[in-house]
């Protein structure tokens, strides 16, 4: 039985220590906001924060999460209030199907924490998540809007 710190809460998870965090979150803890897209850290749909760093959870075994603070999409809004990125996403009507957006929002939140006023080049470098609907133009606009908010 592993103990994880997810979204500020200590939770127990019974899974093989080699199980990727993605599947511990989804299947063991029932937190399905974090998405499966590729399983090889290419698409970014499974992005969470580990100690504040945007990380692809499909490549992090449960055993490597000991003592780390994990934040998922479910943990961004505080007391029902969306964070700056989520609020900008809402105002800019960013998502289409929405499936990649959990990862996209986690990546953008980490970017803004590291660089409060990111340039387009910063966005290009940090936002490597795949969106197949093609929301990239709105993603860029919303990140700039959140930086100004």
């Amino acid at each position: 039985m592993a103990v994880l710190n997810v979204n500020g809460k200590s939770v127990q998870a019974s899974a093989d220590p080699r199980t990727p965090l993605l599947w511990v979150l989804r299947d063991t803890l029932g937190m399905t906001g974090t998405k499966y897209g590729c399983g090889i850290a290419q698409c970014g749909a499974c992005t969470v924060h580990i100690d504040g760093v945007a990380t692809r959870s499909c490549q992090v075994p449960l055993s490597a999460t000991n003592g780390k603070k994990i934040t998922t999409i479910e943990g961004l809004a505080q007391d029902g209030k969306l964070n700056k990125i989520q609020a900008a996403w809402l105002a800019n009507d960013v998502p289409q199907c929405g499936y990649c957006q959990s990862g996209m929002i986690m990546a953008a939140t980490a970017l803004l924490a590291a660089k409060p006023n990111p340039t387009d080049a910063d966005i290009d470098a940090a936002m490597t998540n795949v969106c197949r609907c093609g929301t990239y133009q709105q993603v860029r606009e919303a990140i700039h809007a959140a930086a100004k908010a």
């Binding site: 989804r26 399983g39 809402l90 490597t128 998540n129 093609g134």
Partner: protein
């Protein structure tokens, strides 16, 4: 799974959706609550006592925004307060039980709005008239003295009542037989850039996609089908993995796939990866990519071909022309790469089969479930979720069939079947592969007097819908080349024209892929049009304009005007243009590209114009246009599926790349609706991205790129 509801005499039974949702521990954001007080006015409109309006949406939402657009059309006629609108999906089986009152569930071909606008608007208008009639009866005044607006009916005396107050009485009235629809120029809700209705749960992780379904006692299945399409399962050694952690059952389905069912997806996948399997692939296992290329090349010169469009005598006109131009293009197989891999959850008993999934065609999914379950349709149900994209792939119900076949071997246990990305990549229904030989004849003044377009290659209909072939011909192959019609007609007037198709069908399953055959047909025609213009010594725009029919010309003019075509560009930047008609809409694009000295392509901007007749939500159209270019350019840059030993070689994003934000051009959308018809939006513009970019590349480099994807092309100067 039952909930007691009393919904008036046309009682809404699709509340099983809500019942299923609540009893299964997940909740659709739009699930209707307090059903006992809810009033169904007609199939499309449900009104709650607190004035909340539930609009029923039969088509599937997969990111294209049709849910919001259809709700706008209903709300416009209903005259309700938009802030009170929510939506829900009636189940496909409910549609069957109610004599298909919601008509077509199929969500493909950009048909969501263009094919249902009339009856959904009538649904809203009928409900409005019933609310007015209820108020008039209550007040004992003529209905003509009452008006509906903002979810209220008001009498000229000043009396007023809310829709919530009137709904119970209105629901008892007969449905009016005829209603008058508003002129689009009077629209207040439709036609406006409203935000989508379903955004918030996508920002917080609360949206339930098919892959997120949870149920008590549910198990998860991982599947591996024969890597060669059409191959069979020979044997597998279940004993080798049965004792692995979490494994509940190891089984086969349809004699072509093995499945491990376990407590979690990870445990199922781990065991499946270690499961020894032998396949029987026969001769198909010897098929290599160069054989496919040879097969298509042979078709380019074949004497027999299906004729899709013909005027005059193209061959004679070309033979007699002052100048002859010829080129051969080719287009590879491409994968959909839906963000959410294929999945479905099924629960089977001998009395009932239920499926939860994202599908582009709920009724096809229901039929597939019934067939796989060997139960009557009346004993089956499909509960639709939002799709983590569809792009045509989720119109096919093969994954639904698989989930039911697994659940059938474990009666009573809900089983969620998830394809790995590798399974998804290798078992797609791929954008068909074709080649095209174009031959044009110019007279001494540079006019196009004859054109022969020979397409050789794969037919989607032959593989998936053979009943739709016309004497063996696949009419869909000619999208964009059709001789008239409201769907995908050829835009140029050419006195002598022949467009024909030598059907060549390799074994890899083709399928509908956003834009379908307009993608390659636009590359073939629009790139060759630039080749012809050059041979004629004319500007590509002017050359096209001489031959384009009015609506095509207008939209191309709108795009080129906005882009500043012909005006100076930054040093090293070049414009390429393209146009087509698809899905009932006229579209054109201008790509601004540069190619660096070492051959690096950059697409700076695409300016796109679209004439879809009517505009239901301009903000969502802009998003669809920009999104279509991400999809189209991804394919143009990287999209290529190849065969080795009969099987697909690409397995995941590392071997099948897609565009990220750093390659995204700025997209500017020009809406040029000319009214009087309803065209689609999700697909039409995709087709102009690749040819506009390729035409720009030629101007930048002098290289005609006639094969995709671009990643294989050397664009360096002098190379």
């Amino acid at each position: 799974m039952t909930i007691q509801t009393s919904l008036g005499r046309r009682g809404f039974l699709a509340s099983t959706t809500a019942a299923g949702a609540f009893s299964l521990g997940f909740s659709f954001p739009w699930a209707s609550a307090q059903a006992a007080e809810v009033q169904e006015l007609n199939a499309w409109v449900v009104i709650h006592p607190d004035d909340k309006v539930v609009i029923r949406i039969a088509r599937s939402e997969m990111g294209q925004g049709t849910l919001t657009g259809l709700a706008q059309l209903v709300a416009e006629e209903l005259e309700c307060d938009w802030s009170k609108v929510t939506t829900e999906y009636p189940t496909p089986s409910e549609n069957v039980r109610r004599n298909r009152v919601w008509k077509n569930y199929s969500t493909g071909g950009s048909r969501g709005i263009r094919e249902s606008n009339q009856y959904v608007r009538e649904g809203g208008a009928i409900a409005r008239e019933m609310l007015i009639a209820a108020a008039a009866a209550e007040w004992k005044v003529p209905a003509a003295e009452c008006k509906a607006a903002d979810s209220k009916v008001t009498h000229s005396s000043g009396k007023s009542a809310t829709y919530g107050q009137l709904a119970a009485a209105a629901a008892k009235l007969e449905l009016p037989k005829e209603v008058k629809l508003k002129d689009p120029k009077d629209w207040k809700v439709a036609g406006k850039p409203l935000k989508r209705l379903d955004t918030l749960p996508k920002l917080t992780g609360q949206m339930t996609y098919g892959i997120d379904i949870k149920m008590p006692g549910m198990l998860t299945a991982s599947v591996r089908a024969c890597p060669v399409h059409g191959g069979k399962l020979k044997s597998f050694d279940a004993a080798k993995v049965e004792k692995m952690p979490g494994v509940k059952q190891v089984l086969s389905i349809d004699n072509n796939a093995v499945v491990v069912v376990a407590d979690t997806y990870w445990n199922a996948k781990q065991a499946l990866d270690k499961l020894p399997v032998e396949w029987d692939v026969g001769k198909l296992g010897e098929v290599q990519q160069d054989q496919i290329t040879a097969m298509l090349k042979e078709g380019l010169g074949a004497s027999e071909a299906f004729v899709g469009n013909k005027a005059g005598d193209a061959r004679a006109a070309i033979d007699g022309a002052a100048k002859k131009v010829e080129a051969v293009y080719s287009f590879p197989w491409q994968h959909h790469v839906n963000m959410e891999p294929m999945n479905a959850t099924a629960r089977f008993t001998r009395e009932k089969c239920e499926v939860w999934c994202g599908t582009q065609n709920g009724e096809a999914a229901l039929a597939a479930a019934a067939e796989a379950a060997e139960l009557p349709v009346a004993k089956c149900d499909v509960y639709k979720t939002i799709l983590g994209t569809g792009f045509g792939r989720r119109g096919r119900a093969d994954y639904v069939r698989q989930a039911v076949l697994v659940a059938k071997q474990m009666p009573g246990t809900p089983v969620k079947l998830i394809w790995s990305r590798e399974e998804d990549m290798t078992h797609g229904t791929y954008h068909p592969t074709t080649m095209c030989k174009l031959t044009g004849g110019l007279d001494k003044d540079g006019n196009l007097v004859g054109l022969h377009v020979r397409i050789s290659g794969q037919s989607i209909l032959a593989a998936l819908l053979p009943q739709n072939l016309q004497n063996g011909m696949d009419p869909a192959v000619f999208q964009g080349f059709a001789n008239g019609g409201p769907e995908a007609a050829y835009g140029y007037t050419v006195p002598n024209l022949l467009v024909d198709h030598a059907m060549r069908n390799p074994h890899l399953t083709p399928g509908f892929w956003r834009g379908v055959n307009t993608n390659q047909n636009a590359v073939y025609m629009e790139c060759f049009m630039d080749e012809l213009a050059e041979a004629a010594g004319q500007d590509p725009l002017a050359f096209r304009m001489k031959m384009l029919k009015p609506k095509y010309a207008a939209v191309l003019k709108a795009a080129t005007d906005k882009a500043g075509y012909g005006k100076p560009l930054p040093a090293g930047h070049f414009h390429g243009i393209a146009q087509i008609m698809g899905y009932g809409s006229y579209v054109a694009g201008v790509a601004e590209v540069s190619v660096s000295a070492d051959g690096v392509l950059k697409v700076h901007k695409i300016t796109a114009a679209t004439d879809p007749g009517h505009v239901v939500n301009p903000a969502q159209i802009e998003r669809q246009v920009a999104g279509s270019f991400v999809y189209g350019l991804s394919a143009a840059l990287y999209g290529e599926i190849t065969l080795k030993d009969g099987a697909v070689e690409q397995t995941n994003f590392d071997s099948y790349n897609v565009m990220r934000i750093d390659e995204m051009p700025k997209v500017e959308t020009v809406l040029a609706p000319s009214g009087g018809f309803w065209g689609g939006v999700g697909e039409p513009t995709i087709a102009v991205a690749a040819p506009a970019v390729l035409n720009g590349i030629y101007k930048a480099t002098g290289k005609r790129v006639r094969e995709l994807p671009l990643m294989h092309q050397e664009l360096k100067k002098g190379a």
